[in-house]
Symmetry: D3
Subunit: 284 residues, 6 copies
């Protein structure tokens, strides 16, 4: 069973709204290689795991637990990028108020129609998340290799999305997730090492210099690229895989650690022109 | 952040494999009104919640937490219904062994091709789960009404699926979930009562006599239809909504309670003819 | 605006339930070349029509109107094929009653989970109807050619579906629709004749002998293959196209005629084991 | 069977083309909560209705009939927003003519590729309409509650779309539909009242002041928010439900009335640069 | 079996990047009427062909072979329209470099996230290619009529896409494909002539003057609108259909000819800010 | 450009029809890891390839060419499994002939409705092929790792599908493709070796004993698991990668070789009850 403490896994850095950035950041939430995919893929892989080598199952479950918090982090980042991007509330300016301004023209219109300027389970092109994204064939080698591809593609896409806006909330979340995807890339690469693979200089994928990303650097300094956060309230066998030398050229020792101290979940203000939550006069 | 203790929210009752039952039970996992939908819908609704009336947000979050455990319960039930349904392993009988037998002809073929006789994120017709199932418009009244429809449809579908097999694992899981969907129906109906609605004799939906379902009765006797399980490790405001008289004709007092004692997560045996996990000779 | 008289466009012949037949007949309702497609395609083509040659627009609109009645006819046929196919109601036999029997094993499970043994907007494989089926490019020649393909494929598919069950309700509806698709094939083929095409011996498509289908013969004898039913309450220009020699080898004169006398819409009995409509005790 | 008189249910107010507005208005046509959904949902619910309480079936059928006219109204509004938005026809200016201008950059490209500057069965994000949008579980309470959610979400989305352009054709159509969605919200809320629910102050959803929308006011003054338009050519039982005190805080008496006088269907001019209808020289 | 010589079927004319043009040109690659559709449709039609009239099968196969080269041509054109459209590489300018500029705001974001500024199997709206686009019912008349619609719609869409940018690479590829679609329209129209149809003045569809498109004219002068390129390394019967008078008003003799001399496949430069191919330091 | 010689890449062994086998074999054609995916994935990867290391591009292109022939092989195998499975033609037995028999009840109904007992671009569950299956991110390491997963999953699925029927045509085609997928697994694994990876004992994936599959053995004896068939009519650099020691535990030397001698493309007989091709009386 699953327990919760209201802490965000990383901070949301304040900055101005940027709905075009919110649109492309959706890829990291509801895209084919986004956080909903990683969350659901590791959930199915760990629940459907066969056999006694439960150190692998525990690793899959462990990464799954963190991915729930990643989904929550991206949801909150998108909300911040959207909030305040819709102009003056009509409640103040009247219904003849100005239509959506320039910034909103490059937004996902569903952020303003289906969501109350809130995140959606879709990708950067507005396509809804699909169950067929989940890869879980039950053959551990195939599943682990697919996980390596998934985490590597996650980093690759995030470095590309990163270029699309200099908004600080946007880049901070991407920077944190790039480092954590790196750690998960290491987790699955290491699992394959226990099955006999030597990766040489292949990792990290892509072959980028993480130090060029200022937002990443502080998380690397904290050792987050080599840590597996432990969200288990009971015994587990993750450390049998996640320990020893990192499979990446960046080096270091892999280590199961407690999760970071959480950050407050941001407050989403009322949005009268979206009728959200729209309770005025009702709950009295 | 999210924490885990390896306990299943309910038992998996042993019985014979029944792949046709596994096929239709997928509706309760990956269907438009299944547990993946409830889980993701309440996740988005609670993360995107606007305004200060956080008693509603905490209720949404609280139900979300239990839904993760529901997904896990259905995954494990499907796995048990499938395991052993593929005939003798070819590893023993040779590759000329018998092809899939009668039982498997009415199965979802993807349970044997994509999954290693394991659950999938699809519905009873094999359609993949879709992000567009999630309803989260940010208007609390609309969101709550949709949640009532969702939980009511969940019960309605499960009573219909229940008729499709007398397998004990299948019916026990359905019975437990019917009672819990009932509790969540009560949660959202009660939330609408706080906004002024009087439901009369409308609930439960559908208008069924729960005592006719022997699997349900023991959970009703335990009061599970009127309980909100508390998976929070910190303070919350759920009890401001979930308390007082039940909105259902079945009566009783709504109460936030600790979760049930967990049950062991079943062991999924190796499946050589599915190459799952397929590690022999590799990890040495 | 659209008006309604509660008459079915053709009779529903009584016969036993046949849920496997209901499953495949869905193709004629929600398939890529089914009645929902024809209905929506001609709706969009007539609403979006450009230019002054409104005789073509009126023809499109006229066929659209009949297609609404076709959708209704197939819905009712599917309902009859399903009703009574689920065994004894559990309300009588108790919840330990027999699970779904042999017949239902070859049914679409959604007919029993989503529908209360009722029709669905899906095809024979259970795939939901898609807006992208609609062809409406606004170029009249391309639109008319596509309509010819659509009606011809409608007949072709129905002759193939016809082979799948000897159920009388199933075959009567298919026989009627084959003849009417023939008339609509003639309508669009004739429209292309007015633009200069000579079809030679090409029609009907497929090249079948309609007299081999006993259900069709009586409708041919009534001249339904050469009639355009007129559902307009005002003036129109359909007859400028739909008149003169039929473009088909079957010959005859095309004629705009009043619609047939309607047939009573069948009564769908309550279905307690589906909780449909499930009102007992509520509306008092 | 279905009959037609060539009248639009409301006027199309003349204004300049606005293809970006056409793009977002598609949500009200082919979106998950748009007019195609309401039309098809009530069509299936009324055709598949079970039992003798036909006053509910007649109400469902009655709203269905109006929804066909709503689809037609939105199609025509989108056509007007698109017509003239593609620059000079190349037939006059030559093929070296200017490419699509600024306005078109924010359009749905399919409006110019698949449609001849005409409406499409897609939503504001360009996603095709899906059969799985239709909710018809055959349990009357669940179906009615879903209809309340559907109509409420229709209003909610339209008030949000309304903010996206001040184009008069766009706002007039939205204003009319907001009022009519309100009436349909009342219809289904009232049907649930007959089953025992008291709504208190919950309606209208969202909790908006309709008088702030100048386009809405005149329709409210006409009583359109409390009227059920009668498109039946025979007897029906709608009035058994749709009568008495409105369930909304806006008050008034519900009443079945004749439909409004229709408005002329706008003429869509030829569009040579789209080859629509493209008949020149052919039909002689 | 299939053989390859590294030649492009037409030239890629150099011009500046234009990512908005790349976005809409995707319709001609992965759209419902694009080159992936034609390629796969004729592949299935020729492989599944029934009966001894193999002159039709050979024609289908022959057009299929050219369509593979068309897909390759559009892929390369899109690549050229994208390459260089992403600003300075961050490797040079640092991670604080400018975010995506104005031009990219109207691009398909997946061209920069999933592709490394490369083509994708999607349409102009970003919707992925669907297997259900393929029409192959096995009835030769219906299949040929559908092919005529497909090729006609291909031309129609390309003349509309042509208006969207004056980029030379974009227009040259469209011009070449318009002429070749014309030839394929003639092929299938001629095949229907052998079955008895006289087309009158119907072709070409749409009814456009190809001489107004300067890019088309040189290909018409080369006779490409009346040629079937022969990619067979063995005997075939295509010429039994594709010969004699063109069915188009443009006149001329149909003729099976050798394919054009190929053009060099363009070199796609490395794209460091996309980590493509990202090999630096690895393969040493 | 692409050239064709009418040879099938492997034989179709004669055996009885088996439509249930045809249904599941569709996974190998139109499934997420089937031959249409491999074909289109390597097509896009080779066309969009960036940089001067064209030995990798040539390898991708080389495998693409063979995959076209694989698609053709599976299409033909499915056709053979379907042909003759529909009972007596109604042309002989009259329209009152027997409906579809037992065997067909477990078939994909679209094989008899959309196809004329012919293959379709769908998977074993009837879901249409999707463009989003294609992985082409332009980063060579990520693309190659994904290709390894794709080929490994191809083998894994085929060994599972193999168990589902003992039909000889079915198993021969699967056996051949398992060996060739193995060769392609080796190709991409070897390409990653050139970038520094040592695979240890990981390959083949899954960890199966190929000698247990009698259909595979003869192809292994021919060395097909270590051969890259050369379909180029010009120079290429494939051999720079595909040479030297196999990365698999099965050992041997990788070698670029000429393709096998082809086999005759089977004749598909006319199918009167499917109206395929349906030409009688027309082409005279």
């Amino acid at each position: 069973m699953y327990f919760y403490k209201e802490d965000l896994i990383n901070q949301i850095v304040p900055d101005k709204p940027d709905p075009a950035a919110a649109k492309v950041l959706q890829e990291a939430l509801g895209g084919q290689f986004g956080e909903m995919r990683t969350m659901m893929q590791y959930f199915f892989q760990s629940s459907n795991f066969r056999g006694k080598e439960t150190q692998y199952r525990d690793l899959l479950k462990g990464v799954f637990l963190e991915e729930i918090a990643h989904v929550e982090l991206v949801q909150n980042t998108i909300n911040q990028l959207l909030t305040g991007a819709g102009g003056e509330p009509p409640g103040d300016s009247g219904v003849d108020g100005a239509p959506l301004d320039e910034a909103v023209k490059h937004a996902n219109p569903h952020h303003y129609i289906m969501g109350a300027q809130g995140s959606l389970p879709v990708d950067a092109g507005g396509n809804p998340w699909l169950g067929s994204y989940v890869y879980n064939h039950g053959n551990l080698v195939a599943d682990l290799l697919n996980n390596v591809v998934l985490e590597s593609t996650g980093v690759l896409q995030k470095t590309r999305i990163y270029e699309m806006s200099s908004n600080k909330a946007f880049r901070e979340t991407l920077g944190f997730l790039i480092v954590r995807d790196n750690a998960h890339q290491n987790a699955f690469a290491k699992a394959l090492e226990t099955l006999g693979v030597s990766w040489g200089k292949l990792f990290p994928i892509p072959n980028y210099d993480i130090n060029k990303y200022p937002e990443c650097k502080k998380y690397v300094d904290l050792g987050y690229h080599n840590a597996q956060f432990n969200y288990r309230l009971d015994e587990h066998r993750m450390g049998e895989i996640f320990s020893g030398q990192s499979p990446s050229r960046n080096g270091g020792e892999l280590q199961v650690t407690p999760p970071p101290n959480g950050f407050p979940v941001p407050f989403n203000p009322e949005m009268p022109n979206e009728h959200a939550p729209g309770l005025t006069d009702l709950n009295r």
